[in-house]
């Protein structure tokens, strides 16, 4: 019989292995689900995981992968800063929206002027917008002791209202014959976040995501701030004793994660999305929470997890259209990934022992 027993120390090997095991189990159970729906499981799994990367149309999907993964990674890196310290920013979606609004707003304010400084100003505005939106729960938390989970989450809905208001009002395209939505920034070259190398999907957001990964890696391994973040997450009392100011840390973490989410929103609106519209946000801010945890809150892990989740999005859409799998089945498949990750997680702290019949 199997017995679960606590490890004296969390296993390092399993910390890295559990995400892979979770992916494999998800493939098996997901395959069984697809089989139960009357589809060929091998083909379904191949459509989701293989074809976008190496299939016939991979030339189209591979750039898409980067385009979808970049905002996820950028936001998740920001979230991981707070999550490591036990500060729970659940409202990245809202900060993402506000960053897009401020970024696009600055760009549109210059229209139709063409100048090299416009795009950098938009980047700055996007980061500032997200930062400001993230600072609301931070200030309320440090001033009045409110719960940042609730406040940041509720601010998502405020941001969505603001987005709708802007798409219908202030930022609406004057030449758009009354349709909602702003001008398309893709047609305004000074404000367009174009592909840096054509056909690869690499736009400035991808570059920013990579920089964020490297930045976070150095922060956590070398810098005092990263050490204090980890310390606070592990043991708030020890952190206080070490001299960490919890209020200051909350302001830094929520501010930084807001700024990164805002950047992601700005790169999205000026690039792949092109315009501010009512349905601009598609849930990157929430999915990034999964990415952060799937990546063990580790910068490199987040990079891989972001790519993996982007893959299931693209592959999932393909499976929907090519194999006729219902969208709900694909969502369930993605949900399984997090579920199994959390389940297999037990193995980092516990081990399974095969208990043989006891010799008396």
């Amino acid at each position: 019989m199997f017995r679960i027993e606590k490890r004296p120390q969390p296993s390092r090997l399993w910390t890295y292995l559990t995400p892979l095991v979770a992916v494999v189990i998800t493939m098996i159970v997901g395959g069984a689900l697809f089989a139960a729906l009357g589809k060929n499981p091998v083909e379904a799994i191949r459509t989701i995981f293989w074809d976008p990367l190496f299939g016939e149309f991979s030339f189209y999907y591979r750039p898409q992968l980067l385009v979808k993964a970049a905002p996820l990674i950028l936001i998740a890196i920001g979230l991981s800063l707070g999550f490591r310290a036990g500060i729970w920013n659940i409202g990245a979606e809202g900060q993402y929206i506000i960053g897009a609004l401020t970024g696009a707003g600055v760009g549109l304010a210059f229209y139709p002027l063409e100048a090299a400084y416009i795009f950098p100003l938009m980047v700055l505005a996007g980061a500032l917008g997200g930062w400001a939106w993230g600072m609301i729960p931070a200030v309320l938390k440090t001033r009045f002791g409110t719960n940042e989970i609730l406040v940041s989450l509720m601010l998502v809905y405020v941001a969505e209202q603001l987005l709708a208001k802007m798409a219908l009002g202030l930022l609406r395209n004057p030449d758009g014959r009354g349709f909602p939505g702003s001008r398309n920034l893709q047609q305004y070259s000074s404000a367009h976040n174009a592909e840096i190398i054509a056909g690869t999907g690499v736009h400035w957001g991808v570059v920013a995501a990579l920089i964020a990964v490297i930045f976070a890696y150095i922060l956590f391994t070398r810098h005092v701030l990263g050490f204090h973040i980890r310390l606070t997450g592990q043991s708030p009392k020890a952190a206080r004793f070490a001299g960490v100011n919890p209020a200051r840390l909350a302001l830094i973490c929520l501010g930084l994660s807001g700024a990164l989410a805002g950047l992601a929103g700005m790169f999205e609106v000026s690039g792949p999305a092109g315009q501010i519209n009512i349905d601009f946000n598609v849930g990157y801010g929430f999915t990034a929470i999964i990415v952060a945890f799937l990546g063990r809150l580790h910068p490199v892990g987040i990079l891989l997890a972001g790519l993996l989740l982007a893959l299931t999005f693209i592959g999932g859409e393909n499976a929907e259209s090519n194999l006729g799998l219902p969208a709900a089945a694909i969502q369930m498949f993605q949900g399984m990934l997090l579920f199994f990750l959390l389940a297999v997680d037990v193995l980092t702290h516990y081990r399974l022992r095969w208990k043989s019949a006891e010799v008396a």
Binding site: P8, Q9, V224, Q234, S235, A238, R240, F241, A242
Partner: protein, 507 residues
Amino acid sequence: MTEPLLSISGLTKAYPGVVANDDVSFDIQTGEVHALLGENGAGKTTLVKMIYGLVKPDQGTMQMHGRPFAPNEPRAARRAGVGMVFQHFSLFDALSVAENVALGMENTPPMRQLSSRIRDVSATYGLPLDPGRTVGDLSAGERQRVEIIRCLLQDPKLLIMDEPTSVLTPQEVDILFETLRKLTSEGVAILYISHKLEEIRRLCDQATILRHGRKVATCVPSETSAREMAELMVGSSFANPKRTDHLPGDVVLELKNLSLPAPSAFGISLKNINLSLHAGEILGLAGVAGNGQDELLAALSGEIRTRPDAVSFQGTPIGHKGPTARRALGVLAAPEERLGHAAAPDMSLTENAALTAITRENLQSGGFLNWSATREFAQSIVLKFDVRTPGVEVTASALSGGNLQKFVIGREVLQRPVVFVVNQPTWGVDAAAAAAIRQALLDLAAKGAGVICISQDLDELLEISDRFAALNEGRMSGIRPAQGLSVEEIGLMMGGAHGMEVAHVSD
């Protein structure tokens, strides 16, 4: 000899990686106080848990009154007449004494009847307690009485007590011992776990000594010296701390009317504390746990900030400064709770060395940590303070309590403090390690640092301190020279027996 009350033979219990009890056998006679001695991790707790039905032995048997006794749950043990008073109380603050007692009983009588039974028992055994009072308002000693009375109402034949005196003033200890003697005269046997060897010599008839899970010796405590018992526990001899005579220097730390509101609902507020600490002296602060020790340490380490002039260092007000600024000046501290306060459990020793040493040991430049220098510092702590560990990359939680304590104390001592504040430096630490830690504190003072040692161990305080004071409900008694103080005087400084008709020291 008559038939023993409880006879234990060959009890063995193994946990992964460690054998907690290895073939332990001994007998407890009716009406005796039997001491169970051993260092932390020697297997005392596992052993009593097996007797109380909380843990099942892998091998071995127990007999009670000659009949097989194998409780599979505490309820079965209680039915057989075993009661246990735990070190940590399991009481609800918001409920009354009688309600708390009722919660632990199997067939609860009506409240009125229960209250009168509590009154009877508390009168019979000299344990004053009002059944109607709310537990949240009781002192630690009174809470312990609730636990004891809860056991006594079940008419136990064997009462297990785990470190019962760690939360009591000397006067309260006397009351407890009276009660225990009365119980034994009625034939109740008591299995008594304690680190305080002098108490055991006063109270116990027999002692069984465990080391690394094995029974290594038995002795009659009244005929054995505390030192002999300590050496049996440790398994080797060790040197007593030596103090050198030196004159105290200038005032290094001064508290002026330090008052603090209670930091949490069950915390203690500090009330008007005044003291001055000289270079080269050790000021011992006694007090029962929960009388403001943690709060005082936090106010000195900078975790809680105060009015600037409430705390001054060499004449400069520092009350408003945080821990990092105070460390830079040379005011270092080591809190009581090792895991989760003095050290982060899941971080390596290297990272834990950085926890307090970044500033004074120059472990960073431009905000970037110098991990190789930090590792060297951690290694030097391990080396100089004899921390037994496979390396500095293991997590703090993997170390035994004593070894981690040596690491925590060593980390601060090696940073050359000018003022060092330590709370419970040897709590739960074996005798040899405790002696080493006390020696380190004495050496620190000899080199000219001012040391404030907060402790509940009076023997320790009398051994190392030059001057002595006590904390009671957030107030500090007057400071007296430690030499020549009697235990009774100290007891009164600590507030006498809480809830008893004993004169309180006025301040």
